[in-house]
């Protein structure tokens, strides 16, 4: 970005500054640490100058927003057009409880919905299954059948609101239900917008809500992508997720590297299915974390966009610029929250939100300050949503596109993260691809090593965590935490009993039989899944059909 002569002058100037001004200062008062690192452990220099970004070709590496390589953002005007979608992940208790929370959030200015399902739905069990005991309605809403989902969206027009559903191994079932309900509301498939997570690989890597072995579960993933590409064009058919990779302990660069490695595996699976890359790639979406180190996060987001654009263009031969755009949702880092002095978390989330805005995300969930203790209370959720609104409306971060571009530190770090991501992807290719790298535990072990390093740094007081290893204090136990009534389990079980007794048995059985047959062939399962949910087959019943056909996944544990 600078001519050779100017650079030489700057380098010489820096040397002189270090030997003179800095040396004098250090002699009097040394720096507080020998080495400065980001929360990911990446080294940070005392000072960055144009010399650190000398290798950057502005047009080629940074470019303009809305254009390849999208370093500066995927839209030309970014938040000057409209803010990111403020989308709070919510769900607890019954569909009725959660519907009330959704209506409240929409009334408060939230602009999209995000469904948290309870673990039984995510793992493909009905609320009355023995493995569901104790879990019903706990970390999300209990959805067993289309009847429950109808209650969940009662009074919410599905052509006006977009909905994100955190559902993976059972994504086809929940998308099927959603489409069936939209149809009942008179909304055609091509007017329905939203996202399903549908990212089964990261379930195996780190999130744990897998059901089937890698190959058949990938087949369901691709069935959904293919169906959506043909019939539900506004639907993001996958949300390839680094969020949970980071939560389980990875560094910022690993978060991007392993997520994009998963992305490569999905894109390859679609290509292998015979779907042209430009037909599906524009509907691949991503999901990342935001930690408190603002500048590292901004660099991470910028690097991620550039890496993905290059991967799609160079590796997959995409031609349509939309195929090269990394569009993503962010959730602030759950694992960064402390149970100690929980109000401090508001500040952490504020910084993480700022990082997200400076980084150019398309949508955001902000965590509530009480989430290291329990599910969020209404008060805490409101503060979390207001945090987004303050950053959007008051901070100025949204007034210009990619405001930190050209910052020597951020550009240098963007390059560094990109290089690390490419190194990892090369290694994973050498292992034999993402699936092989997961099966061998390579990705899991890399994450665990980072998690271990971080814990050691905290316990060795090498890194400060406010309220954990510094500025600690005695405090009374928090009050007014949200509790989910244990009776939800009984209520849901009773509802299921009634559903099973009153539905059209012949229709239900025929639908499940057909699903089994179709699943044994290469035919796309989506149309048959939609028939089955309309016949009131439950999540557990449909997933059981596939347990029979595909088998169940039992992971190897890498500790």
């Amino acid at each position: 970005m600078f001519d050779e002569k100017a650079l030489q002058k700057i380098k010489a100037g820096k040397d002189k500054w270090e030997q003179g001004t800095v040396a004098k200062t250090l002699a009097k008062s040394p720096e507080s640490k020998k080495e400065f690192t980001t929360i990911s452990g990446a080294p940070v220099e005392r000072l960055y100058t144009p010399a650190d970004v000398a290798g950057i070709d502005y047009e080629k590496h940074i470019g303009f927003p809305g254009e390849f390589p999208f370093t500066r953002g995927v839209q030309p005007t970014m938040y000057r057009g409209r803010y990111w979608t403020m989308r709070q992940y919510a769900g607890f208790g019954s569909a009725k409880d959660t519907n009330a929370r959704y209506r409240y959030l929409l009334q408060q200015g939230q602009t999209g919905l995000s469904v948290a399902f309870h673990l039984p739905t995510q793992a493909g069990y009905d609320s009355d299954h023995p493995l569901s005991m104790g879990e019903v309605g706990k970390v999300g809403v209990a959805i067993d059948s289309i009847e429950d989902l109808k209650v969940l969206f009662n009074g919410i027009p599905l052509d006006k609101v977009t909905t994100s559903m955190t559902i993976n191994a059972a994504a086809t079932v929940l998308l099927g239900m959603y489409l069936a309900i939209a149809e009942e509301q008179g909304v055609p498939y091509d007017k329905v917008g939203g996202t399903v997570q549908n990212d089964v690989l990261k379930e195996i890597i780190c999130r744990g809500q897998y059901i089937y072995p890698p190959k058949p579960t990938m087949r369901l993933t691709v069935d959904l992508i293919e169906f959506a590409q043909k019939f539900v064009p506004r639907w993001n058919s996958i949300s390839i997720s680094g969020y949970h990779i980071r939560e389980s302990g990875s560094t910022a660069a690993q978060e991007i590297a392993f997520t994009l490695a998963d992305g490569i595996a999905y894109a390859q699976a679609c290509v292998d299915r015979g779907i042209p890359v430009d037909a599906f790639a524009g509907r691949l979406s991503f999901f990342f974390n935001a930690f408190t180190n603002v500048l590292e996060e901004v660099a991470k987001f910028r690097a991620a966009r550039r890496c993905w654009a290059k991967i799609m263009k160079e590796r997959f031969g995409a031609k349509d610029p939309r195929s090269m755009m990394l569009r993503y949702h962010v959730q602030t880092g759950g694992v960064t929250l402390t149970a100690q002095q929980p109000l401090n978390n508001i500040v952490r989330v504020g910084l993480q939100t700022y990082a997200t805005a400076l980084g150019g995300a398309q949508s955001l969930h902000t965590n509530s300050y009480d989430e290291a203790l329990c599910l969020p209370t209404q008060q805490a959720v409101t503060v979390a949503l207001r945090t987004q609104q303050i950053v959007a409306e008051e901070s100025g971060a949204t007034d210009t596109v990619d405001p930190l571009a050209g910052c020597y530190y951020v550009e240098a770090m963007t390059d560094k993260i990109e290089a690390e991501v490419h190194e990892y992807i090369k290694k994973i290719d050498a292992i034999g691809g993402t699936l092989a790298a997961i099966e061998q535990g390579y990705i899991q072990k890399e994450i665990q090593n980072s998690s271990y390093r971080f814990q050691k740094e905290i316990e060795g007081n090498e890194r400060v965590y406010v309220g954990i290893n510094k500025y600690t204090m005695e405090e009374p136990p928090p009050e007014g935490l949200l509790k989910v009534d244990m009776s939800v389990g009984e209520v849901e079980a009773a509802k299921l009993k009634k559903l099973r007794a009153t539905r059209d048995q012949a229709k239900w059985k025929a639908a499940l039989d057909k699903l089994k047959k179709v699943s044994q062939t290469d035919e796309n399962v989506m149309p048959t899944v939609i028939e089955a949910v309309k016949a009131k087959a439950t999540v557990g019943e449909i997933c059981d059909v596939w347990r029979e056909v595909f088998g169940e996944y039992r992971p190897k544990e890498f500790v």
Binding site: L119, P120, Q122, A123, Y125, P130, L131, S132, M133, G134, E135, K138, V139, E203, C206, R207, G208, Q209, E247, S248, G249, V335, T338, A339, Q340, A372, L373, C374, L375, Q448, S451, Y452, Q455, E459, G467, I468, P477, P478, L481, V484, M486, P555, E557, V559
Partner: protein
């Protein structure tokens, strides 16, 4: 040579958050314990069977999905029914302080919330585990 403390690290229920469990498994091994990590989706029966088969001295339960009040006491009860009365049971995860006392009363001797130093957990186990035969 004194024989090693044997600990089962288990994830009851459907919760998939295993960062803490895996980290502790490594820390316990470093502290000289013999560690068996069960993996995810363990029922109380599976956990107690593992404790029986492995002749474990300690069972460590990890839950971040708010099901500790359901699962932890069930594991204790089942352990007692199977005659495993002197096995130390500890638990951790997203557990609000108000649940500590009831869990301890139910027989979960050590309860550790978010932010607990791992050294504190190791020390608690070493101080409270049954004497080796």
């Amino acid at each position: 040579m004194a024989s090693k403390i044997k600990i089962i690290v288990a994830k009851p229920g459907l919760d998939g958050h295993d960062r803490g469990a895996k980290l502790l498994a490594r820390i316990f091994a470093e502290a000289g314990m013999e560690v068996v990590y069960t993996g995810l989706r363990q029922t109380p029966e599976m956990i107690v069977n593992a404790a029986l088969q492995e002749d474990a001295d300690v069972v460590g339960l990890s839950s971040l999905s708010g099901v500790h009040n359901y699962f932890f006491p069930r594991v204790v009860q089942l352990m007692r029914e199977k005659g495993l009365k002197d096995v130390l049971i500890v638990g951790g995860g997203i557990i609000p302080q108000e649940d500590y006392e009831p869990l301890k009363k139910a027989g979960v001797q050590g309860v550790f919330g978010p932010g607990t130093p791992t050294t504190e957990i190791v020390k608690f186990i070493q101080d409270n585990v049954r004497a080796k035969k």
